[in-house]
């Protein structure tokens, strides 16, 4: 069954079993390995991508439900090589340790800040539920606060 979708701005036709999770289509069919596998049950957020602008955990999204959808992955955040502001903040604050969870983290934070450029701590806590085993959370929050300040002062 062929499914048409857009990935990082490019139209793609995918021919796999309809229940194949988007995660494995991205990684194995399209070779976009920046999106990570962590749990497969929507519990960790390592596989977070944007589906029509919404942050979604791609390990539980059947590709057949995505006909016509527009997907953005970490590779699509900096198409011309210029990092987006969240990626840049991650560099400036030296957030990643092993880095494995961070692409999903950056996708989740990018989505949060495009929705709410100046989120409260409670909003941050509620929307950033990615797991980071290395323990980078203190810096994740610091980096988000920094971005929020740029966007118009912290609350």
């Amino acid at each position: 069954m062929a499914i048409a979708l857009t990935v990082n701005g490019q139209p793609r036709t995918i021919d796999v079993e309809p229940e194949t999770p988007l995660l494995w289509v991205l990684r194995d069919t399209l070779g976009l390995t920046g999106t990570k596998f962590g749990c497969g049950i929507a519990a960790c957020g390592a596989c977070t991508v944007h589906v029509n602008g919404e942050p979604m955990r791609s390990c539980v999204l059947a590709v057949s439900d995505l006909e016509g959808a527009s997907i953005t992955t970490i590779e699509g955040l900096a198409p011309s090589g210029v990092l987006n502001n969240v990626q840049q903040a991650w560099l400036d604050q030296q957030v990643p340790q092993c880095g494995y969870c961070q692409t999903g983290m950056i996708m989740a934070v990018t989505a949060l800040l495009s929705e709410r450029p100046n989120p409260t701590d409670q909003e941050i806590d509620e929307s950033i539920t990615n797991i980071c085993r290395c323990g980078t959370f203190a810096r994740v929050r610091r980096a988000i606060h920094g971005l929020a300040a740029e966007a118009g002062g912290t609350r």
Partner: protein, 719 residues
């Protein structure tokens, strides 16, 4: 590369493309030797710390440690660059490939010998000694990289490279070396106004004789070390381009999903492969001794087909074992509490216990291999490429030299990817052998990863302590099961009688090194018990500890700093409290104060953590703080929610819904301060972990009067 010339324990030569290459000769520090080993001795010529200076004026440091997020590669490069007075923007770092020549075994060998050779400064503690014995070569673990490779390899190599570059300049200009200055990758001679870059001098430097004992810089003169430097690997970790073991791809590669005998030690009895073989994309069902694998043209197809199988495994006779039976055996082994001196005014006893814990690295185990009649190639993310190569070779019945191993980025290690726990490398190689010559990438599902770890051992201790009439402790002693050693049971308190005695209660559950190794359990035991003693003596737990630290000024300074950071002693609202704990491991002392707040229903919130650290010299201040922060969060997950449970011989937990860890929302504010020091650098990846559980438990006592003697806290009623 041309033939190496060697002097003493440093070797240097000319690069084929022009330039200077220099390395530290490993064998010079062979066991028990105080002098240099001759060139023709066994193992001579093993070089492990390499610095390349090329005509483009770039200095490349080859680092024999992989980067798993601790910033070790950057810190090591800083140590070499500092000695050379190089322009930091012209430094590059590369991970050395898994060749024997790069092994950091020179230090390991030195440590396993009976005495530490002359050129090595003493200052390596027992913990490192033991780890070094056990890790073998090229390991990244036990906080070893900066302590050993850095201090004894990078520093020496950097100083030697600088001397050779200066010698080359002096020769060219016909001036004395001592008259030359070095700054920002440039040698200059003020009197004659001449100067040249390292790149320009590299070729000539390669022809200079190699200094046998280069003079390292006076630490007072450091300009690069002790500053915050960005890690070299960061960009690839924010743009998604870093290639982890799980990301590696080859043309024509097949994919494997595996089911392993659920009880450790169990074997595959039978499996009907037909249901999988008829599914789309499936190539073959591969039977291994302890597992079954489905190999297909995509991972998703392989894992779907695996689900269609109903493999039968035996339980190796362990089907009756549960966490309850394991702890019953522990309890029995501990027997009566240690005896206390007769005539003590007050004796207290307490039992503590902690469960098994999984590493649960964010990247599940993965390994890619291609086996052909000529040999094998293997790719994976490990903490020890040389041992990974050996593991693969053994699994395939080959010589290590017939296996090419490439280490890839690691999505977390924490001890899971160390020698002794590289089972996934052997398994990946065996599956690829069955599919030879096709390359196969094996990925463990999270469930497989969670249930087939090398777990932090479950452990239990039985403590007794005695106070005299004035409330001063006269004796503390413990029996423990689950492993321990001198370092992990060490208490920095002056108490007339101190004893810790290990007991055995073996079980079949696989255990291994877990971030801070034995210190996570013993940190909780000993620092909870000293707190209990303080309260039994009617003393403030901080003051009680401090007053017993007469012999240990470093500990005392760290403890006092943490207390000051937290404004210890201030009044807090009802239901809130501060708890303090201190522990040393891997050459670093860390004290932490936790601020706990409990609701009337007993819901715990850790609001803030203050950490004071004496890790000797801090090489890279930014990554050092990140490691302590990470250790605190890692340790908090264990203290609050982590537990691996055994039932019917197998692991109950399977994924992040039932093996939990803390989230951003649960993370306290964390403040880290370092005690300024010029002592040799201690480890940083692990020492942040041990104090956090007892600090939180002690804070809960301060807040509620409830004494926690068991982890994780989610299983303890706190109201």
């Amino acid at each position: 590369m041309n033939k190496w010339t060697r002097r003493a324990f440093i070797g240097a030569g000319a690069l084929a493309g022009g330039g200077l290459a220099l390395g530290v000769l490993g064998v010079a520090l062979a066991p028990g030797r105080h002098s240099v080993v001759p060139d023709d001795a066994e193992g001579a010529g093993q070089l492990n710390t390499w610095i390349l200076v090329t005509p483009d004026n770039i200095v490349t440091v080859l680092v024999p440690h992989c980067e798993m997020g601790q910033g070790a590669q950057t810190a090591l490069a800083m140590m070499a660059a500092e000695e050379m007075d190089v322009d930091w923007s012209l430094v590059r770092v590369k991970e050395a490939p898994a060749l024997d020549e790069y092994a950091n075994g020179y230090v390991v060998r030195a440590l396993t010998g009976e005495s530490v050779p002359g050129p090595i400064e003493v200052g390596l503690d027992y913990g490192t000694y033991r780890l070094a014995r056990w890790f073998g070569l090229q390991a990244t673990g036990g906080s070893m990289s900066v302590r050993t490779t850095g201090q004894y390899g990078m520093r020496v190599a950097g100083a030697a490279a600088r001397e050779m570059l200066v010698a080359a300049a002096a020769e060219q200009w016909n001036v004395r070396a001592a008259e030359c200055q070095v700054a920002s990758s440039r040698v200059s001679h003020a009197a004659s106004g001449r100067s040249a870059t390292f790149g320009e001098l590299a070729q000539a430097a390669a022809r200079q004789s190699v200094p046998s004992r280069p003079t390292p810089k006076d630490p007072q003169a450091y300009t690069l070390r002790r500053t915050a430097r960005r890690r070299f690997d960061m960009r690839s970790k924010v743009d998604g381009s870093a290639v982890y073991g799980i990301d590696f791809t080859l043309p024509g590669m097949l994919h494997a999903a595996v089911a392993i005998a659920p009880v450790n030690g169990g074997k595959l009895v039978s499996v009907d492969s037909a249901p999988a073989e008829s599914m789309p994309g499936v190539k073959r069902v591969v039977r291994l001794e302890e597992a079954v694998a489905v190999v297909a043209d995509s991972y998703w197809r392989a894992s779907r087909a695996l689900e269609a199988l109903e493999p039968v495994f035996d339980d190796a006779g362990h089907g009756g074992v549960s966490s309850a039976t394991i702890f019953e055996a522990f309890d029995e082994a501990l027997a009566a509490p240690p005896e206390m001196p007769a005539g003590a005014a007050k004796v207290i006893t307490a039992d503590y216990r902690v469960p098994f814990l999984a590493h649960a690295t964010m990247e599940p185990m993965a390994c890619t291999a291609r086996v052909t009649p000529e040999g094998a190639e293997v790719w994976a993310g490990t903490q020890d490429p040389l041992n990974a190569r050996k593991t693969a070779a053994e699994a395939l019945g080959l010589e290590p030299g017939q296996v090419r191993f490439t280490n890839l980025a690691l999505g977390g290690g924490f001890g899971r990817r160390l020698p002794g726990s590289l089972d996934f490398v052997g398994m990946g190689a065996r599956i690829a052998q069955a599919m030879s010559p096709a390359p196969v990438k094996m990925i463990w599902s999270r469930e497989t990863d969670m249930q087939h770890g090398y777990f932090r051992p479950a452990a239990m201790s039985r403590h007794a302590g005695a106070l005299d009439a004035s409330g001063a402790p006269v004796a503390v002693a413990s029996h423990y099961v689950g492993g321990g050693d001198r370092e992990s049971t060490f208490m920095p308190y002056v108490i007339p009688e101190k004893k810790a005695e290990g007991r055995e209660a073996p079980h079949h559950v696989r255990t291994g090194a877990w971030r801070s190794v034995l210190n996570s359990q013993h940190g909780f035991f000993k620092e909870s018990f000293i707190d209990e003693l303080a309260h039994a003596a009617g003393k403030d737990p901080f003051a009680f500890r401090r007053d017993l630290m007469g012999e240990h000024p470093r500990f005392r300074a760290v403890l006092e700093r943490a207390a000051a950071m937290a404004s210890w002693g201030r009044a807090l609202p009802k239901g809130e409290g501060l708890g303090i704990a201190i522990a040393e491991c891997f050459g670093s002392i860390v004290a932490e104060v936790a601020h706990a707040a409990l609701s009337p229903e007993g819901v715990l919130k850790v609001k803030q953590v203050w950490a004071a650290v004496d890790c000797g010299e801090v090489v890279n201040t930014d990554t050092a703080a990140a490691q302590i922060e990470g250790g605190i969060i890692f340790g908090l997950s264990a203290a609050l929610v982590g537990a691996i449970t055994i039932d019917k011989g197998r692991v109950v937990e399977s994924n992040f819904h039932d093996y939990q860890m803390i989230y951003l929302a649960d993370t306290p504010a964390i403040e880290v301060q370092f005690i300024p020091s010029t002592a040799p650098p201690g480890g940083l990846g692990e020492p942040g972990v041990p104090p956090i559980a007892p600090a939180v438990a002690n804070a809960i006592f301060a807040a509620t009067g409830i004494r926690v003697r068991e982890l994780p806290l989610r299983r303890v009623r706190l109201a």
